[in-house]
């Protein structure tokens, strides 16, 4: 549908629910706005909140696809809203919060609490071989290709899209998700970490870990950073099976 000026009218339907508000019930609410050139869902939602509905809740931080705040279901698919251009969508757009995570209100969910819980369980920090390093000395060397490989996995922005798209995560509350498994794959690759496969088996060698994955691999398809999640999970599973056999 186009207006006289040639711009499209967008109908954006948003799943509204505010658990803080007594009597609030989940419902779809539709807002109409005029599309602008290069409009992203960030710009569209800000405009709706400023001009139409000051109560609408959603999360943006960097609005540049870097920080991972704005994961949401856009026409049923988890992705980052800030870098979704409206011109790539039809005139009717549906938005819903990411499932699995605790709902804060409307499109806002608590990914932070989930990610911190996962990090604590999987101990997703480097376990140093020595407790202290002499900061005045030359740094330990690393092959340039290995550094690049580690960074490839470190590009994860913890947006939660992989968890929202995951079949297992819907069924198993404690499943660590592709985000968690990717982190283990990252530390496994890092020679500075003192842990070995037996240690990692303790963390992910069960159905809440790598053996919970049903290989549906939606995580891989929806990852906004295009991380090689399918390969990492398959590789980790092989390694963990071999530990488990011993």
């Amino acid at each position: 549908m186009k207006t006289e000026t040639g711009t499209r009218k967008l109908k954006i339907s948003i799943l509204r629910f505010n658990p803080q508000e007594p009597g609030s019930v989940p419902r779809m609410q539709t807002y109409e706005i005029d599309e602008a050139e290069n409009m992203t869902l960030f710009i569209a939602l800000m405009e709706i909140r400023e001009k139409q509905d000051p109560s609408l809740q959603f999360d943006f931080v960097c609005r540049a696809g870097i920080c991972g705040s704005c994961g949401m279901m856009i026409n049923g698919r988890p992705t980052l809203a800030c870098r979704t251009l409206t011109k790539d969508l039809g005139t009717e757009i549906s938005l819903a919060p990411l499932p699995v995570f605790e709902l804060i209100g409307d499109l806002s969910v608590d990914t932070g609490k989930w990610m911190r819980g996962m990090s604590e369980r999987l101990e997703t920090w480097l376990h140093m071989k020595e407790p202290e390093v002499d900061l005045g000395r030359l740094e330990e060397r690393m092959e340039p290709e290995l550094a690049e490989k580690i960074y490839e996995l470190d590009r994860c922005i913890e947006c939660g899209c992989c968890v929202a798209g995951c079949g297992t995560a819907r069924m198993r509350e404690d499943f660590v998700g592709a985000v968690g498994l990717n982190k283990i794959a990252r530390f496994r690759l890092d020679p500075r970490d003192r842990r070995d496969d037996a240690d990692y088996f303790e963390l992910i060698g069960d159905d809440d870990g790598v053996f919970g994955c049903m290989s549906l691999i939606a995580c891989h398809d929806v990852c906004p950073k295009e991380l090689p999640l399918a390969t990492q999970i398959a590789f980790l599973r092989r390694k963990m099976v071999s530990v488990g056999w011993k």
């Binding site: 109560s55 870097i66 920080c67 804060i104 209100g105 101990e123 390093v133 960074y151």
Partner: protein, 663 residues
């Protein structure tokens, strides 16, 4: 009434706040770090290009050391920086890089042998040394004499924040999220923590602490067009201002980055130019060498941004329906380089502009980028006027950036200052006289006062709209307090901001919920942000000279004779509509590097009467060098090592400066 007690309360969970927290926790103190968002989403993550530290591993960095980094930083600051603080910083930066490496940061590494790079638009082959292989690599950045910027592809800030935040989890530091400090608790001389609003439930809680640290980043959102994240509204800095006791330093020093993508204002890293990218105009002409023959695209950011705007004003911009822009050309770097070393740039161009930077030029125009000013501190990071209040990173005026920050020096500051200030905070907490003996009445009163303010906003029948006032403020700042400033326009800006501040006291809300309420948040924030905006605009109006990023068209010269000082702004009373300004002199006679030409930008300035004397004094000291090494000479010029926390003293090893093995 809910009161939570801790040793150290940190406000802001970006790199500086997390590193302070880790440092204090490691020394045995309880720490709580408040964050508006999950900590890994903090704006530190948006730093792309890298972190300056004089490791001198790459061949183009050979000969680099603390002395060169020091001089680059002071010249970059246009002599506004505290030179002792710069020394502390350049000494700690290599240690910060190495600490992060030990914590698992995947720094990009040096590969031995030949490689092709682009320098000054030409393909050049350089050869990396065998002994550098596998050590941390450096790239070129603006305003630096050596390749000094350590990096992780172009996701440096993201990788740093991931590593740092995971370390904070390892140290079991609680980081309450969606927790916003809206006022400091203080008695006019001593800070005791903060009143904090839960952004989900709306509940107010008092956090009482021995030491409180403000690490909430910059205030880019005071401007309409900015590279900053939407959370970079400067509220933590504003609550320091609202104490009426703590002062903000150099708020008029605001940096505009040369190459945000146009028109969205999303940052494209300086690494794009550091790696050989060029700026071009409507005719496809590379114009920077015409203005800046020495450093070209790699002069400091204030200079490049001004030259770009100057060129656009001459009619050389590319017209578009959103206004004029220029081009950033990185096509000459080749597909592999763009997709590996400038990957975020590639993604941003692809997703937001529909442009393939491997093949096409990218539209860019300068936009607000960095807040050099902030909570004024001494070298320990503590406010000189409000005891127990500390600050570090972009939120602080420590002051290592003076009137212009060099690219790569901001993430470097966050971590280096975080390390240093974290130790000083631990020292502070360990001194018995700093035990927090706080009358609960003081805490209760602060809680009641803040609750009353929020209730008043919710119950107000005011007619002003919070979002409209915010938008008007941002427009005034962008159009009247921008890159080029004049007295007349600044006067208008100050006047209009004062009117807005008065109007902001008459905001009425359409949505009245006490729990999560975006409109309420905008309302109380914009009242605070207007005070910050007035500190910038009024400071800029009063400073009748040009220094670093502060450029007055009606006073185009740097005037050391009258303005070699730091602006201090305080907000004395709630009913005021202007800050009170005072000026802290910067002593030429104590400088290691007396004022002169920066090596780029304008060549004429008005000298301070002491400058010639200090130059002669330093010359004489250098003459009597008697074979003393660079450390001994430096020690004679401006001693600083005694200022550093003991833990971070000691020399930095380099390939060409191997330290002897200790017995």
């Amino acid at each position: 009434m809910k009161i939570i007690y801790t040793d150290v309360l940190v406000i802001g969970a970006g790199l500086a706040g997390l590193r302070i927290g880790i440092g204090a926790k490691r020394r045995g103190h309880d720490v709580i770090i408040l964050s508006l968002v999950p900590p890994k989403r903090s704006h530190s993550s948006a730093a792309q290009g890298g972190m300056q530290a004089s490791l001198a591993n790459v061949i183009k960095g050979q000969g680099d050391n603390e002395d060169v980094h020091f001089e680059d930083t002071v010249r970059g600051s246009d002599w506004g920086a505290d030179q002792q603080v710069v020394r502390m910083f350049v000494d700690t930066a290599p240690k910060a890089v190495r600490e992060l490496a030990a914590w698992g940061l995947p720094w990009s590494r040096v590969t031995r042998g030949d490689r092709e790079v682009i320098i000054n638009g030409q393909k050049v082959t350089i050869t990396e040394r065998d002994e550098a292989h596998g050590l941390i690599a450096q790239r070129a950045f603006g305003g630096t004499n050596k390749w000094r910027t350590c990096y992780v592809s172009d996701g440096t800030g993201h990788a740093m924040l991931t590593t740092m935040s995971d370390q904070a989890i390892a140290y079991q530091i609680p980081v309450p999220e969606r927790a916003e400090a809206i006022a400091l608790i203080h008695d006019g001389g001593r800070c005791y923590g903060a009143i904090v609003r839960n952004l989900v439930t709306g509940e107010l809680v008092a956090y009482v602490a021995k030491a409180t640290a403000i690490t909430g980043g910059g205030a880019g959102r005071l401007y309409r067009v900015t590279t900053n994240a939407v959370i970079s509204e400067g509220i933590p800095t504003a609550i320091a201002l609202e104490t009426g006791v703590a002062s903000l330093g150099n708020m008029e020093a605001v940096q505009f980055h040369p190459t945000p993508a146009f028109p969205a204002g999303i940052l494209l890293t300086e690494g794009a130019r550091g790696d050989g990218g060029l700026l071009k105009d409507v005719d496809g002409h590379r114009f920077m060498p015409d203005y800046e023959p020495e450093k070209k695209e790699l002069a400091s950011r204030d200079v490049v941004s001004r030259r770009m705007e100057e060129h656009i004003a001459k009619g050389k911009g590319v017209k578009s329906r959103f206004g004029d822009h220029l081009w950033l050309d990185i096509t000459l770097l080749g597909e592999h380089h763009v997709k590996h070393n400038l990957r975020e740039v590639y993604e941003i161009c692809h997703y937001f502009l529909g442009v393939d930077p491997v093949k096409e030029w990218v539209p860019v125009r300068p936009a607000q980028h960095y807040t050099m000013g902030g909570v004024r501190t001494n070298y320990t990071g503590e406010s000189p006027t409000l005891r127990g209040l500390f600050s570090a990173g972009e939120a602080a005026c420590w002051d290592m950036h003076g009137f212009n920050r060099l690219g790569g020096n901001s993430v470097a500051e966050t971590v280096a200052a975080g390390m240093i200030v974290g130790e000083f905070i631990a020292d502070f907490c360990e001194r018995s006289e700093n035990g927090a003996s706080i009358p609960t009445s003081l805490v209760e009163e602060a809680l009641r006062r803040e609750q009353a303010k929020i209730d008043a906003l919710i119950d107000s029948r005011g007619t002003e709209n919070a979002a409209t006032i915010m938008a008007e403020m941002q427009t005034i700042m962008s159009t009247k307090v921008g890159i080029f400033r004049t007295g007349k326009v600044l006067e208008e800006g100050v006047h209009e901001l004062q009117q807005l501040l008065l109007r902001s006291r008459n905001i009425g809300l359409r949505y009245k919920a006490r729990s999560a309420n975006p409109e309420l948040v905008t309302a109380y924030r914009v009242q605070k942000m207007l005070k910050m905006a007035l500190c910038i605009a009024y400071g800029a109006l009063q400073r009748t000279e040009s220094r670093g990023a502060h450029f007055r068209e009606d006073f185009p010269r740097r005037n050391d004779a009258e303005w070699l000082n730091r602006t201090l702004a305080t907000w004395k009373s709630e009913t005021d509509t202007l800050p009170s300004l005072a000026y802290e002199p910067i002593d030429v006679m104590k400088m290691e590097l007396p004022p002169g030409w920066r090596g780029y930008g304008a060549k004429d300035h008005i000298d301070h009467p002491d400058t010639a004397r200090r130059v002669a004094e330093i010359e004489a000291l250098k003459q009597q060098r008697d074979g003393a090494d660079r450390f001994a000479l430096q020690q004679k010029l401006m001693p600083y090592e005694q200022l550093l926390p003991e833990r971070f003293r000691g020399r930095n090893e380099r390939i060409d400066e191997i330290r002897e093995v200790r017995p």
